[in-house]
């Protein structure tokens, strides 16, 4: 049975959600504003979306962001999954608790520190900064998120399934690919989505590690906003919000869905 809302509950929920989402809603609304002035409503229009298509600088930045996102999310998913498997499967090796803790740490590490330390690393090894440094930086922090998501699925995965595959003559790699992976796939997909979304909206770490010709969308937006908010920026942000929402929703649904649900397939 659902508990009835009391007046107090209702007020707190409305206030809480308003505080969270009102700014975003405003941003979305003003992206359809016909007026050039950001705070004055001048009627409905999609002209800022059209003019966006002619803004080379923003389109370039979007393209960089997308590439960084796709490449870093994919590599982070592979590495993060491997890390999770090692932590869950390797049994009790020396310092396992330490490693498990260490994989969590980047999740709470201030981004400024992550960004700065990566910058120092790239400078130290004399790595030309640009697309690949941003991508590597994104891999390094989103990998941890993937590892945590996949790890939580792996601990509930029945080990004897993998043993059965080995017993039937599958090499360890085949056993993993043909038996373990299909069963933990939703978690892996959710990890990828998460990594992609994180990469998409990262500003701090990207600013530290970027170089010429690799300006990401959040960086572009930030630098433009300092010159004054234009409705064009609102339009870009609206698209970003839509993308991130889609990513998070897909990740959530994928985690909840059972791996290749047999019922779903049979019916």
């Amino acid at each position: 049975m659902m508990r009835r809302f009391t007046a107090f509950n209702l007020v707190s929920i409305v206030l809480g959600f308003a505080f969270l989402y009102l700014p975003i809603v405003l941003l979305v609304i003003y992206s359809f504003n016909a007026s050039r002035l950001v705070t004055v409503w001048g009627g409905f229009s999609t002209k800022w979306y059209a003019s966006l298509l002619e803004n080379e600088a923003i389109l370039d930045a979007a393209w960089v962001t997308l590439r960084v996102g796709l490449v870093s999310a994919t590599i982070a998913t592979v590495l993060g999954t491997m890390g999770a498997v090692a932590l869950v499967r390797r049994g009790r090796f020396f310092g396992r608790t330490l490693f498990t803790g260490m994989i969590m740490a980047p999740l709470v590490m201030p981004e400024v520190i992550t960004g700065l330390s990566l910058l120092l690393l790239f400078v130290a090894v004399d790595f030309d900064r640009g697309f690949w440094t941003v991508t590597i930086a994104h891999i390094s922090f989103s990998m941890c998120f993937v590892a945590v998501v996949v790890q939580s699925r792996l601990v509930t995965f029945d080990r004897s399934l993998e043993e059965a595959a080995l017993d039937l003559g599958a090499t360890p790699l085949r056993a993993f690919v043909q038996v373990t992976l299909p069963n933990i796939f939703p978690a892996v997909a959710a990890g990828w989505m998460l990594a992609f979304t994180l990469s998409l909206d990262d500003l701090v770490i990207a600013s530290f590690t970027t170089g010429p010709g690799a300006t990401t969308l959040p960086m572009k937006i930030y630098s433009q906003v300092r010159l004054g908010v234009t409705p064009e920026i609102n339009a870009v942000c609206t698209i970003l919000v839509a993308l991130v929402t889609l990513g998070v929703l897909t990740a959530t649904i994928a985690t909840k869905a059972r791996a290749f649900s047999p019922q779903a397939e049979a019916r």
Partner: protein, 381 residues
Amino acid sequence: MKAALGAVRRSFQPWADPAAKPFITFRGVTKRFGQFVAVDNQTLEIFEREFHALLGPSGCGKTTLLRMLAGFETPSEGDILLEDKPLAGVPPHRRPVNMMFQSYALFPHMSVEANVAFGLKQDKLPKSEIGDRVADVLKLVKMEAFARRKPDQLSGGQRQRVALARAIAKRPKVLLLDEPLGALDKKLREETQFELINLQETLGLTFVIVTHDQEEAMTMADRISVMDHGRIVQVASPAEIYERPKSRYVADFIGSVNIFEAEVDNVTPERIHLATTDGFDVACDADIAAAKGQTVWFAVRPEKVRISHAAPADAGINAVAGEVWDIAYFGDMTLFNVRLDSGRIVRASAMNAARIVEQPITWEDRVWLSWSADAGVVLLD
């Protein structure tokens, strides 16, 4: 049914032949988990086409022994040999051994057919042959109608059949079964036991089965290894385990038994004479080396104890009097609990051969219990 199989099997006794080569050998195998010793320096030989049961209470190391044979655990010490070749260093996927898991471990994302075909695909057999062999084994376990179902659309018994089909599809040299019938109800269990025996006969495989159900081990196995705390305490045929247990532990673990502590009184070439602490004397066929004055135990099973109102002819020996304490009527037989004067309860069972008995034995009757010289065994441990 069992009688027929018994006739086939009567001549199968490779362990009695000193020239016979064992198929699987555990040689001085120890397995430690940290400080804990799960298997303690054990040696065991299993022969080709043998149906061998590992029997013991929970936690005694049965699964560990099986997993070492399958390659999922590495012995801390000792060797495991298959056809005289050491298995050390051979990973699980290269061992000609297949296992049927306690939890079945069917792949949930594959159909029954794909589950059974999995092992054959790893061997890269041609497609048509895989198809034929999958169809064959599914027919063997009577699951051909369910080939396209997913494991979670099957009942427990059906899943167990699929797991069995998957394990035998590769025609392994050795089939390992870890409590294969644990999840089945009694009736299905008995049916499947018979099917397993049949299957083993037809395929000519070597079976090693783990169970903690003594009846299951007795019905199915050629030989049983009784285990206790990481040690194999006796390896013998079911009949020998039952009739000639080597220790109180084995005697008590298999079936029901009366055990009396006793002191050796006299040893002659034919007989050992004992004086029990319950105040009666025993003369037992001597098949064990015991010295005068030694403390031993005398074990006799309830069905070998006669119960009567009248004192037996030679009441001074292999007989004791008591009072009927409790009676359990089972239809085909009746179990009497008789309280000796020493206070000990002794079990005796009698077949109900006649419908009407003139003077039935009833509660609080004074009765005599007696047995013949070959009815019981003397245990040193």
